[in-house]
C-alpha cells in the first residue's frame, strides 16, 4: 500500500470544493493579474490621461487658465501652419527614408546572399552605423556637413556644389539631407532583415527553377520577391514606425530649421510639451501620431498575413 492511500483525507481523483476547471480558470486569472495591472498602469492609464488632456486647453505654467477645448487641439494641428508643416515634413521624411532604405537594403541583401567569408565580414562592417545612437549620428553629420569646418561640407561649399551656408542650412536641401542621414544609418538593418528572409528561401525551388532554365531576373521576380514578402513587410513596418517618430537626429542636426523646413511631429510635440508645457496641444499631437502609426502598423500586419497565406498557398 502506498503512503498516500494510508491517508483517507487525500483524494487524488476529484478534489473537494471547486471543480478542477473552475480552479484552473481562477489560477490563470490570478496569474494574469500582474500583467493586466501592469498594462493598465503603464499603458492604458497614461493613454486615457493623454486623451483626456488633449480635450483641454491646459498649460502647466498657467493652470488657472485651463478650459475645455473639445477637439480644438486636434483641429489646430491641421489649421495651424506650423503643425501642418510638421505633419507634411514627417510624411515626406518617412516615405523618402523608408523607400530608399528598402531599395538599397534589398540590393545589399542580394549582394551579401552568398555565404562566404568576405560577405560575413562585410555584413559585420556595414552594421556599424546601426549601433550608433541616432543623437550621435546627428551630431556627427552636423559636424561633417558644416560649411566652415566640416570635412564634407567645407569642400561641397567650396566647389559650389551646395549653398555656401551648408546643406543643413539650405531650406531646400535640409530635409533631403536628413533623409540621407537616416538612410545611411538604417539601410544596414533593413538589409539584415531581408538577408535573413533570403537565407530562409527554400533552396530546392530555386534549384528546380535553374534546372528549368529560369534566368536570374525571372527567379528574382517569380520566386524570390513573392517568397520574401513577409520579410519585406516586416522591414517596412519597423522602419516606417521608427521613421515616423524621428526626433533625435533632427533635434541636434537642425532643430527643425531652417525656418520650419525640417520640423517634424515629434519635435513639435516635445517643444509644446517640454518647452512650453502646453500639455493639451502636446497630448493631441502625440495621440494623432499614435493613431497614424497604429493605422500604418495595422495595414502592414494585414499585408503580412495576406502575403504569408499566399506564400503558403492557402
Amino acid at each position: 500500500m502506498s503512503a498516500i492511500a494510508d491517508h483517507p483525507g487525500i483524494d487524488l481523483v476529484e478534489p473537494r470544493g471547486m471543480p478542477f476547471a473552475t480552479r484552473r480558470k481562477l489560477f490563470l486569472v490570478v496569474m494574469a493579474v500582474p500583467v493586466v495591472a501592469y498594462v493598465l498602469v503603464v499603458g492604458i492609464w497614461p493613454l486615457a490621461q493623454g486623451i483626456w488632456y488633449s480635450l483641454y486647453d491646459y498649460n502647466l505654467i498657467r493652470p488657472q487658465r485651463t478650459k475645455f477645448a473639445g477637439l480644438d487641439n486636434y483641429v489646430e494641428i491641421i489649421t495651424d501652419p506650423v503643425s501642418r508643416q510638421a505633419l507634411i515634413n514627417t510624411a515626406i521624411f518617412t516615405i523618402g527614408a523608408v523607400f530608399f532604405e528598402l531599395a538599397l537594403g534589398f540590393l545589399l541583401a542580394l549582394s551579401l546572399w552568398r555565404d562566404d567569408r568576405f560577405n560575413r565580414l562585410a555584413l559585420a562592417l556595414i552594421l556599424i552605423p546601426v549601433t550608433i545612437t541616432p543623437l550621435v549620428v546627428g551630431l556627427i553629420f552636423k559636424g561633417l556637413l558644416a560649411a566652415d569646418y566640416g570635412m564634407i561640407g567645407y569642400f561641397l561649399a567650396e566647389w559650389g556644389l551646395t549653398d555656401p551656408r551648408g546643406l543643413l542650412a539650405d531650406q531646400h536641401a535640409a530635409l533631403a539631407t536628413l533623409i540621407f542621414i537616416d538612410v545611411w544609418e538604417w539601410t544596414p538593418l533593413v538589409a539584415l532583415i531581408l538577408l535573413a528572409g533570403l537565407k530562409a528561401l527554400p533552396a530546392d525551388i530555386l534549384e528546380a527553377a535553374s534546372v528549368d532554365g529560369a534566368t536570374g531576373l525571372q527567379k528574382l521576380r517569380i520566386i524570390v520577391i513573392p517568397l520574401m514578402l513577409p520579410a519585406v513587410l516586416l522591414a517596412l513596418i519597423l522602419r516606417t514606425v521608427d521613421a515616423f517618430r524621428v526626433f533625435d537626429t533632427v533635434y541636434v542636426a537642425t532643430g527643425g530649421g531652417p525656418g520650419n523646413a525640417t520640423n517634424t511631429l515629434m519635435l513639435h510635440a516635445v517643444k509644446q510639451g517640454l518647452e512650453f508645457f502646453n500639455i493639451g496641444r502636446a497630448s493631441a499631437i502625440a495621440n494623432l501620431t499614435l493613431i497614424i502609426i497604429a493605422l500604418i502598423a495595422a495595414g502592414f500586419v494585414m499585408m503580412i498575413r495576406h502575403a504569408d497565406r499566399k506564400a503558403n498557398g492557402k
Binding site: I61, A147, R165, Q171, T254, G255, G257, P258, G259, F277
Partner: protein, 434 residues
C-alpha cells in the same frame, strides 16, 4: 539610614553632575550651532551652464566650512534648466533649493509664485547686503517683476561691442558708435577670399537667432511689445530692422553663422574670423585668455552702437538666484544665507577673479585687482547705469514669443523668407497667447 542617606547623597550628586553635563552639552551645541548654523542642511542649486556655474561649485566648500551647509551644484544647459526646474516647481517635488533664473523668466516666476518673495528679507538685511552698492538696473531686471522680488541678482551681463582693433586700425576705421557705422564697417571688413568677415551673429533656429536679433532690433528702434502690453512683432520698425539685419548677415557674416549659437559665434570672434560682434560681457574674459583666443592682443570692448537718430539703448541680461518656495523654512533660511554670502563684496570679487564673468556691484567696477584683469569694466559700468533690461519682454509668454521669433528670424537669415511675411506669421501666433 546611613546607607540610605549616603545613597541619596550619591544620587543627588549624580543628578547635579548629569544636569551640569546636560547644560554643558546644550551650551556646547548652541555654541556649535552659532559657529555652523546650517549643519546638516544640503542646498541643491540648479545652475545654468554659464561661466559662473563651475565657479559656484568651486566656492561651495568654502560656504560649507563657514556655515555647515553642503552645497551641490547641478549644472544644466538652458533647455534642461527650464524644463527641470519648471517641473520641480509644478510638481512640488523640492528637487532644487536654489535656481539660477534667467532675466526673462521673471514674469513667469512672479505670476506662479515659484520662488520666495525676497523684498522683506532684503529690507531686513539691507545693511549687511549693502544694497546701495548693487546697480538698481540689476536689482530690478534680474529679479523684480511688478514689485515682486522673485530672485536676487548675482550675475549681471552687459551687451557690449567686442571688436578686433587691429583689423579696424588696418582698415582705417574707428569703433562704430552708430548702427549705420556698424553696418558700413562690417561690410568693409569682409573679405571672404581671405576667410575674414566683418561681423558675426547667431543664425541657429530658436533662442539663439531670436535673442541676437532682438538686441540689434532695439538698437535700431524696434520693440517686441507695444505700450498697450500687446506684441508688436510685425511693426514697421521691426520689419525694417530685420531687413537691415538680414542684408548685414548675408554680406558680412561667415557662412557657418547660419548654424551658430552663442558658442559658435564666440569661437568665430576668438579665432579672429569675425571683426565685430555684439555679445554678452560674460564671454569677454575669454578673449583675453591665450589658451582659447587668438585675439588677445587685438581685442577691444566698447558700448553697443545704436541708430544715429535715437538715444543709446544698451541691453542688460543675466541671472538672478531664486529660492524654491516649496522647500522648508530652514532650507529657505540657509538658501538666503548662501545668496547673501555669494553676493557679498568679498566673495563676489573672488567669484569674478576666478572667471565667473558675472558682475553686480558698483565697487567692482573700480576695484584695482578686477580692473587689472578685466580692463573693460568701465564699459560694463556705463551699460549697467544706462541699460535697458526690458528690451526682451520679461513676461510669462516670453518663451513662446522667443520661439516664434527664433523661427521667423532664422527663416529670413538662412532661408528665403520675406521679413514682413515671417514677422506677420510670428505676430499671428503671438496674439493667440493673449
Amino acid at each position: 539610614m546611613h546607607d540610605i542617606k549616603g545613597n541619596h547623597m550619591k544620587n543627588a550628586d549624580a543628578a547635579k553632575l548629569a544636569t551640569a553635563g546636560l547644560l554643558a552639552c546644550l551650551m556646547g551645541s548652541t555654541a556649535l550651532g552659532q559657529d555652523k548654523p546650517f549643519s546638516g542642511i544640503t542646498l541643491t542649486i540648479a545652475a545654468q551652464n554659464d561661466q559662473f556655474a563651475p565657479v559656484i561649485a568651486e566656492l561651495a566648500p568654502k560656504f560649507e566650512e563657514e556655515t555647515g551647509a553642503t552645497v551641490k551644484v547641478d549644472i544644466l544647459d538652458y533647455g534642461s534648466l527650464l524644463t527641470k526646474t519648471t517641473a520641480d516647481y509644478i510638481g512640488d517635488t523640492e528637487g532644487y533649493d536654489l535656481v539660477t533664473m534667467d532675466i526673462v523668466w521673471a514674469g513667469e516666476y512672479a505670476e506662479n509664485g515659484y520662488s520666495v518673495e525676497l523684498s522683506e528679507l532684503i529690507e531686513r538685511d539691507a545693511e549687511e547686503i549693502d544694497v546701495d552698492d548693487i546697480y538698481p538696473n540689476l536689482m530690478m531686471g534680474l529679479g523684480n517683476f511688478e514689485g515682486k522680488q522673485v530672485a536676487f541678482p548675482f550675475a549681471g551681463y552687459a551687451n557690449v561691442l567686442a571688436y578686433n582693433k587691429t583689423r579696424l586700425d588696418a582698415a582705417g576705421l574707428e569703433a562704430p558708435t552708430t548702427m549705420e557705422e556698424f553696418v558700413a564697417a562690417a561690410e568693409k571688413l569682409t573679405d571672404p577670399d581671405a576667410g575674414l568677415y566683418g561681423f558675426v551673429a547667431n543664425g541657429q533656429k530658436g533662442p539663439a537667432s531670436a535673442q541676437d536679433w532682438m538686441q540689434y532690433n532695439s538698437e535700431m528702434g524696434g520693440a517686441i511689445m507695444g505700450e498697450d502690453g500687446m506684441p508688436t512683432l510685425n511693426s514697421d520698425a521691426n520689419v525694417e530692422s530685420l531687413k537691415v539685419y538680414r542684408d548685414l548677415f548675408r554680406k558680412a557674416a561667415p557662412p557657418g553663422a547660419a548654424g551658430y549659437d552663442w558658442g559658435g559665434r564666440e569661437e568665430s570672434f576668438r579665432q579672429g574670423v569675425a571683426a565685430l560682434m555684439q555679445t554678452w560681457s560674460v564671454g569677454a574674459p575669454g578673449y583675453y585668455n591665450p589658451e582659447i583666443s587668438k585675439v588677445v592682443d587685438d581685442v577691444a570692448i566698447t558700448t553697443a552702437p545704436h541708430s544715429g537718430d535715437m538715444a543709446p539703448s544698451y541691453g542688460i541680461g543675466g541671472w538672478g538666484m531664486a529660492i524654491n518656495a516649496d522647500v522648508s523654512p530652514e532650507e529657505q533660511e540657509a538658501a538666503w544665507a548662501f545668496i547673501k554670502w555669494l553676493t557679498s563684496p568679498e566673495i563676489h570679487k573672488e567669484f569674478n577673479l576666478m572667471g565667473a564673468g558675472s558682475f553686480l556691484r558698483k565697487s567692482e567696477m573700480t576695484d584695482a585687482d578686477l580692473l587689472a584683469k578685466f580692463p573693460f569694466l568701465p564699459v560694463l559700468a556705463e551699460t549697467f547705469e544706462n541699460g535697458d533690461y526690458d528690451y526682451r519682454p520679461r513676461i510669462p509668454e516670453y518663451p513662446q514669443i522667443q520661439d516664434f521669433l527664433g523661427t521667423a528670424v532664422n527663416s529670413v537669415l538662412v532661408g528665403d523668407a520675406d521679413p514682413k511675411e515671417a514677422l506677420d506669421a510670428a505676430q499671428a501666433q503671438a496674439e493667440d497667447l493673449f
